[in-house]
């Protein structure tokens, strides 16, 4: 269980997060949605100890995240941020191998090697494993980064806009992988998404941020609602049903 209590964060006078509390359901995908600048990325960074909050606490398995040794916490919780600029000339396999760092400190065991191979297969990277990252397309590289986090094999996975810069096919591919991670391996995934339809189709729960607070939280189907979305984004939505999932059309900005 991952839980945040009374988290606040501000930069100067600008309040980014204002006393946020939330329990994230275990073994599910929870999407964080909201307009630009509502603090979604900040929240993920705080939850993963990359950023220090002004107030409040983060609990991972009923224990404060600051009470963990960093090396131990990295066996429970992983994060992939939005902008990943590794300028090092590393192969895909080398990058994925670093995902095992929390367990092996760089000396890979037999088990680590197995995990790396499995992950490469899981993310369909076998053929690309000896390629250098710099030689990959944006989508392939994103998949390689995700593979590193999957190899880290943590109970909780935090992803900040993993679909950034991906075309439709690769976006669908990544989201399907996330679904499998939760359904088969029981991972708890918290993901920042900008595409409301991906949130609607692939997440179990949605947390919507507005003005530094969690304004709405609930099952995906409940949150995808014309009034709620209008309140969140300030434009009108037309929601229809397709294969049992809600589909939002906002392209014409219906009034």
């Amino acid at each position: 269980m991952i839980e945040i209590k009374n988290i606040s964060k501000h930069y100067g006078d600008h309040v980014v997060l204002n006393d946020i509390s939330l329990r994230f359901p275990k073994g599910k995908i929870t999407s964080l949605i909201g307009s630009n600048g509502t603090g979604k990325s900040t929240l993920l960074s705080i939850m993963s100890r990359l950023l220090v909050q002004d107030n409040g606490e983060v609990f991972v398995n009923e224990k404060k995240n600051t009470d963990y040794k960093s090396a131990v916490l990295s066996q429970h919780l992983s994060i992939l941020k939005q902008f990943n600029n590794i300028e090092l000339k590393l192969t895909v396999k080398e990058l994925v191998s670093f995902g095992r760092f929390p367990y092996s400190q760089g000396r890979l065991s037999e088990e680590d090697h197995e995990k790396i191979e499995e992950t490469l297969g899981f993310l369909d990277l076998i053929e690309l494993q000896d390629m250098y990252l710099e030689a990959l397309s944006g989508g392939q590289r994103q998949r390689a980064y995700l593979a590193m986090v999957v190899a880290q094999d943590t109970e909780y996975i935090l992803l900040d806009e993993p679909l950034n810069n991906l075309d439709m096919r690769h976006s669908v591919q990544i989201m399907k992988i996330l679904r499998k991670l939760t359904e088969v391996l029981g991972k708890t995934i918290i993901v920042v998404l900008h595409d409301i339809n991906f949130a609607s189709h692939y997440s179990d729960y949605i947390a919507a941020l507005k003005n530094g607070r969690v304004k709405y939280f609930g099952k995906a189907n409940e949150i995808i609602n014309e009034d709620i979305l209008k309140d969140l984004f300030g434009i009108s939505f037309c929601i229809s049903q397709s294969n049992g999932k809600k589909l939002c059309n906002y392209f014409n900005h219906f009034n």
């Binding site: 040794k69 090092l88 590393l90 760092f101 369909d124 397309s137 096919r169 088969v184």
Partner: protein, 344 residues
């Protein structure tokens, strides 16, 4: 369990075209090249021992000519071993600095570290003139460490984190340290001595006066033991922290190793420019940035490069010598220029 998933995932196949061009080089080949480098290093070392004003041949060693054996043990061997250690130390330090700053153009020359070591040494001479070499070396080390910390602080707080801007700041930083050193040197009438440190020269390396350079060995050992952690540092703070790395500690450990190596080398031979910039860049360009994998090649190549420059410098205007700092400056500078021009 993932195996089952694998099957599913293979069903939703996404066939991406795999171009052969980006595939990293094969392992067997790499081993061969490592053997070749070791052979080259041994060859260059032997040549280095036998090149010089006094004529020494293998025959003299076999017959046990006492004078010539003394020459070898007092001058030739110390010189060759210093060159090897300095070559290794400078290149490895350069590599570490590039990882710590995540910038390929940062090196002991372009981050003011060499200038710091020189100034530290000079201040040691002025402030504790009666102290032994070890104390003065220690003084230079502390000074280099402090200056490196300061440089990282400056890099952290400048807004423009441009690839070229960071080494530019480093060069300016170095120039300031250098001018402080020159100021003291002029006031104390020791400009010539100070200039001698600025331009490395191995002709003064003699038994009993060079042993400080062995201090660079533990630093290189640390680098090898922590190789994976330094690679992680190069991936950035967020990646390192996510993987549970003690970021601050490894940063400081890197600075410690670099400072120790540089002060040992500057104390023994003087500042060697460009080596820490050119060697790591050339090697990682071919073999990638996985430090554990490339460290041996970088160390070997650095030693061979310096030995070769030294041999050429000793032969060009024989029986006189071109200071090695100048030789490395010319060859390294040229290679660096070519590298810059080829970098798109």
């Amino acid at each position: 369990m993932i195996k089952a998933l694998q099957k599913v995932s293979n069903k939703m196949l996404f066939n991406e075209s795999t171009s052969a061009s980006g595939v990293s080089s094969m392992k067997g080949n790499k081993l061969k090249i490592r053997h070749l480098l070791i052979a080259l290093l041994l060859g260059a070392s032997v040549v280095s021992i036998f090149v010089g004003v006094a004529d020494i041949s293998v025959f003299d060693i076999l017959t046990g000519d006492a004078d010539k054996l003394f020459l070898i043990s007092a001058s030739r061997f110390p010189r060759t071993i210093s060159l090897v250690l300095a070559g290794i130390g400078m290149s490895v330090s350069g590599l570490i600095m590039q990882q710590l700053t995540r910038n390929k153009f940062v090196s002991p020359t372009t981050a003011g570290s060499l200038d710091a070591a020189q100034l530290g040494l000079l201040l040691g001479l002025i402030l504790i003139p009666s102290a032994g070499t070890l104390m003065k070396g220690g003084f230079a080390f502390v000074f280099t460490f402090a200056a490196s910390l300061l440089f990282l602080k400056i890099v952290d707080s400048i807004r423009i984190r441009n690839v070229i801007f960071v080494p530019l700041v480093g060069l300016m930083f170095g120039a300031i340290l250098n001018s402080v050193a020159t100021f003291f040197a002029i006031n104390l009438n020791i400009v010539q001595d100070v200039n001698a440190w600025m331009m490395a020269d191995f002709s003064g390396v003699l038994s009993g006066r060079y042993e400080m350079i062995y201090f660079s060995l533990p630093a290189v050992a640390i680098t090898y033991l922590y190789a994976n952690k330094f690679t992680l540092i190069g991936m950035g703070e967020d990646f390192s922290k996510n993987l549970g790395l003690n970021y601050r500690f490894v940063m400081n450990l890197g600075l410690f190793s670099v400072s120790l190596t540089l002060s040992a080398i500057v104390l023994t031979a003087g500042a060697i420019p460009f080596l820490g910039l050119v060697v790591p860049n050339l090697v990682t360009m071919i073999y990638g940035d996985n430090i554990k994998k490339v460290l041996p090649e970088i160390a070997l190549f650095g030693a061979i490069f310096l030995l070769t420059c030294d041999i050429i410098g000793r032969l060009v205007i024989y029986p006189f010598e071109i200071p090695i700092g100048l030789m490395v400056g010319i060859v390294g500078g040229a290679i660096f220029l070519i590298m810059l021009l080829r970098r798109r």
